[in-house]
């Protein structure tokens, strides 16, 4: 079977993000990047499915500029077989990204698309569900457990919903989004990193993928939450309650 994992390059999770002086962009100069942590869970899940079935191809796909090949390589170092990068240097909105990915899915014809539930930078959490909608495929979000049927025609997925744990069954092909508890990703190994350098990354021009429509969602400015004030000591429980109320925390 073929598994396709969507993957976004995001700033390292502990990095401090600053805003450019003009206030309209992020200053990412000294920031390290990594595979979006939720996508890493998706890659791990794909690899586990591959290992359990003994046979499967895991393809990782990212839409972005050249730098995101580093993250595709990281995923291949974990064990993904090959990568596709849709080249685009600049801003896209979620729907455009989803359309680009849908075009890749139509070419690759995977049996299952695995994604992270959210990209930890922009935090829209839109792309995979949009992708499912565009493809007309069933979807399962915030998955904490995925079980494929023997013949790979369907999957039973446990999803973390507000009310508890929801179990759904999906006919494949489908889109499934990984949540935190789905698994614990493996450490990209040293020989894996070496091997990954030799694995193929196919690059597609975004214009090859048909009309993605205009970008209708644009970010025009950033603001830091007021810099965290230095900690204070309060004198009594009463003052503590007051301070909590002021911060709208209770």
């Amino acid at each position: 079977m073929k598994l396709l994992v969507t993957l976004k390059r995001t700033p390292q999770r502990d990095a401090r993000i600053r805003i450019s002086e003009e206030g309209d962009a992020l200053d990412l100069d000294n920031v390290q990047f990594e595979v979006n942590p939720f996508d890493e869970l998706a890659v791990e899940e794909a690899l586990r499915i591959k290992e359990a079935r003994g046979e499967a191809e895991v393809v990782v796909v990212s839409v972005g500029a050249e730098e995101c090949e580093q993250q595709l390589v990281s995923a291949m170092a974990m064990g993904a077989d090959r990568a596709v990068r849709v080249h685009h240097d600049g801003e896209l909105d979620s729907l455009q990204v989803a359309k680009a990915l849908a075009a890749v899915v139509e070419r690759e014809e995977p049996d299952l698309v695995l994604s992270g539930k959210l990209a930890v930078d922009d935090e829209c959490g839109q792309v995979p569900a949009m992708l499912a909608g565009l493809l007309g495929w069933p979807q399962a979000s915030q998955a904490s457990d995925i079980e494929l049927s023997e013949d790979a025609s369907g999957a039973t997925v446990v999803c973390e919903v507000d009310a508890g744990l929801e179990t759904v069954s999906l006919a494949l092909p489908a889109v499934i989004m990984a949540d935190l508890r789905l698994n614990e990703p493996r450490y990209a190994s040293l020989p894996g990193i070496m091997k990954a350098k030799k694995k193929p990354i196919a690059t597609l021009g975004i214009e090859e993928l048909g009309d993605l429509g205009p970008a209708r969602s644009r970010v025009t400015g950033f603001r830091a939450l007021e810099d965290k004030p230095p900690g204070i000591k309060v004198g009594s429980v009463e003052e503590l309650v007051q301070a909590l109320e002021e911060k709208k925390l209770i």
């Binding site: 502990d14 401090r16 064990g79 614990e184 493996r186 450490y187 040293l190 020989p191 070496m194 091997k195």
Partner: protein
């Protein structure tokens, strides 16, 4: 001939193979041939298994090899350290060696005289008596050593859980060979040539003589047939022994000297690097199967005497973890002829992650096996398979991404220095010292106090020093100990770049892990620096009078030696001398100095939960409490955490302080 021969009526010698009929001689030659073939084939198989390993490391010069053999094989210097067991082994070894030489002399005499057509060669007169006497003495040594060894096993000494039935069998085999040898001799003296009177000089074989006098009452034909019986028994068992050597722990007889002579010279704190080019080429990283080890490593595993000394001192074994360094060595040796994976139920991830990299096993092994190196290679394989999870993986990711294992922001690394008047390296022109702070010293609020104390000391002594500031990052020690060479290389490379861009005389560290990495491991990557631990540096300051401490009340205390300082780097005296000058009355715990017991934090254990068996830090804490201290002094931020946590777990009022803090308290003008 010799004067003696005229004193005694007969020639002073004995008839070799007296009373041994042709069939028995034939049996001896056949068995010997068989045993020798068996033995040689066995050795060849082992040697072939080594040759499947990788080639790596530097050759040892012949002079050095001989010196090593003399010291540790012949004189058994390293073995002596372990008390009764050492004595036992030395006695057996010397006994065996001399008996073996004796047998060789007899053989040379026998074949030599036959070849040259002479009645005797040299096995007569004084020489004969001397050799006979020596054989008696060393035969007794041999037996005594065996009895000592057996009684130690009989008394079920606690630390030998892996002593197996074959070990006992081997000792009994030796004992029976030795006893039957003496019996054969006694019977010969009693029966040959018509009795004792015919060869009074045999008194020199005093054990045999003594036995023979006891056998006087028996008839000659009984004595001769008994003699033949014992001779055959002795001979057959000896052949069995020869045949067995390569197939059980006896093989150390051959391989231990080889390893002693040819082992690689490497401190336990300096790991064998991995070349990224090689990994790229072969896709091989770490040890999955025996042949992934170097030839020399495989050879060394065959030197194992199964003495279990390593496991006796291993803090993991001692606290009920599934790890035994001896078992790891034996498991690898056991699979070196096949190609099967080493990893499984026996060498499980739990076994491998239990190691604190304390190096006690390496320090203790009488035949210089590097168990820790083997464990690291096996860990590397786990890392290669991505089999490093949970908090250990999180720590590795954090060191790679944030430059410290707790994932604290890089920008905050020098926050501790605010307001302390500590310059960074670009603010001082070639300072005397570069003060390397380390991750704990930078971020851990408890260890920061140690850093601050050290700053006060440096300032009081007027030392010109500087820090790297935000440019410093983790030395890579945790990554390396956990088996991640890639991350280690990246971090070490970045640090070497920063260090080499600066000018200073020496590097000072308060963390023995940083100390070890920069001092012993950075040179392999091209970073050569003169590194001192703060205990050494303070000792120098005190000795040169640059630092003067105020007197104060004496305090009873003890020192917990950091493994990476004392054992791995031989810094034992400096912390003690500094502590004494602070007025601490240092009472030594039973295990201290190079024989210290680990706190449990090394080898990446600092970032892993310890949920099997006893906690190593608690075990160490109770050992230290036997000295009844008011203060426990430490010289390492990890030991600090471990000892503090162990103390708090038992709610004890004993203070845990770093050497630098105790010194800073005695700086003129500090509040006591």
């Amino acid at each position: 001939m010799d004067k003696l021969n005229t004193i005694f009526a007969a020639t002073v010698t004995r008839e070799i193979l007296w009373n041994v009929p042709t069939w028995a001689r034939a049996l001896m030659y056949i068995l010997f041939l068989a045993a020798a073939v068996f033995c040689v084939l066995g050795i060849a198989r082992r040697v072939r298994s080594w040759r499947r390993g990788r080639e790596a490391g530097e050759a040892v010069s012949p002079g050095k090899a001989w010196r090593r053999l003399w010291r540790d094989a012949v004189l058994q210097v390293r073995i002596w350290r372990s008390g009764a067991a050492g004595l036992g082994h030395a006695l057996v070894f010397w006994g065996f060696l001399v008996l073996f030489l004796g047998t060789c002399i007899v053989a040379v005499e026998d074949y030599g005289s036959w070849l040259l057509g002479r009645e005797h060669l040299f096995f007569t007169g004084t020489f004969y008596l001397g050799v006979s006497f020596a054989l008696e003495v060393f035969g007794i040594f041999f037996l005594l050593g065996l009895v000592l060894a057996l009684s130690r096993r009989r008394s079920g000494e606690r630390l030998r859980p892996l002593s197996r039935p074959v070990d006992l069998a081997v000792l009994w085999l030796f004992l029976v060979i030795g006893l039957s040898g003496f019996a054969t001799e006694g019977l010969r003296i009693a029966a040959a040539g018509g009795g004792l009177e015919s060869h009074p000089f045999e008194r020199w074989s005093f054990v045999g003589w003594w036995l023979a006098t006891g056998l006087q009452g028996l008839e000659v034909n009984v004595l001769t047939s008994l003699h033949l019986g014992f001779w055959v028994g002795h001979m057959v068992l000896s052949m069995v022994f020869i045949a067995l050597i390569p197939y059980c722990k006896l093989r150390h007889i051959f391989f231990a000297p080889v390893n002693i002579a040819l082992r690689e010279d490497r401190k336990a704190g300096r790991y064998l690097g991995v070349s990224m080019e090689e990994v790229e080429e072969t896709g091989r990283y770490g040890a999955a199967v025996a042949s992934d080890f170097t030839r020399r490593q495989l050879m060394s595993f065959d030197a194992c005497t199964e003495c279990a000394r390593c496991q006796t001192v291993c803090p993991a074994t001692a606290t009920g973890k599934p790890l035994s360094p001896m078992k790891v060595v034996l498991d690898i040796a056991g699979s070196s002829e096949g190609g099967e994976s080493l990893h499984g139920d026996e060498i499980s991830p739990d076994v491998l992650w239990a190691c604190t990299s304390c190096g006690a096993c390496v320090e203790e092994c009488p035949v210089y096996i590097d168990q820790l190196g083997a464990i690291v290679d096996l860990r590397r394989h786990l890392v290669a398979e991505g089999e490093i999870r949970g908090s250990a993986q999180a720590a590795l990711r954090s060191v790679a991404a944030a430059g410290n294992p707790w994932g604290m922001p890089r920008e905050d690394r020098a926050d501790w220095a605010e307001g302390l008047g500590v310059p960074t390296i670009d603010e001082v022109d070639s300072p005397e010292l570069l003060f390397w702070i380390g991750c704990a010293g930078s971020y851990d609020r408890r260890s920061r106090k140690v850093t601050e104390a050290m700053v006060r000391i440096l300032q009081a002594a007027g030392v010109r020093f500087a820090i790297l500031g935000k440019g410093e990052c983790c030395t890579g020690d945790p990554a390396r100990r956990m088996g991640d060479e890639f991350t280690y290389n990246e971090l070490a490379g970045a640090n070497i770049e920063s260090l080499s861009a600066a000018t200073f005389e020496r590097v000072l560290t308060t963390c023995p892990h940083c100390f070890n990495a920069i001092r012993n491991e950075y040179p392999d990557l091209g970073g050569n620096y003169d590194v001192v631990h703060h205990s050494e540096f303070i000792e120098e300051l005190l000795a040169s009078g640059r630092l003067v401490l105020e007197d104060g009340a004496a305090v009873r205390g003890t020192l917990h030696d950091p493994c990476y300082l004392a054992r791995q780097n031989d810094v034992v005296e400096a912390p003690r001398s500094v502590l004494r000058s602070t007025g601490l009355d240092v009472v030594e715990p039973e295990q201290s100095g190079k024989e210290g017991f680990c706190c449990g934090a090394g080898g990446g254990r600092m970032w892993m939960e310890e949920d099997t068996g006893e906690r190593i830090n608690s075990e160490r804490w109770s050992q230290l409490q036997e000295t009844d201290p008011e203060t426990v002094a430490v010289g390492c931020p990890f030991c600090m955490t471990m000892m503090t946590d162990a103390r708090d777990a038992v709610d004890s009022p004993v203070e845990v302080k770093d050497i630098a803090e105790l010194v800073a308290e005695r700086l003129p003008g500090s509040p006591a």
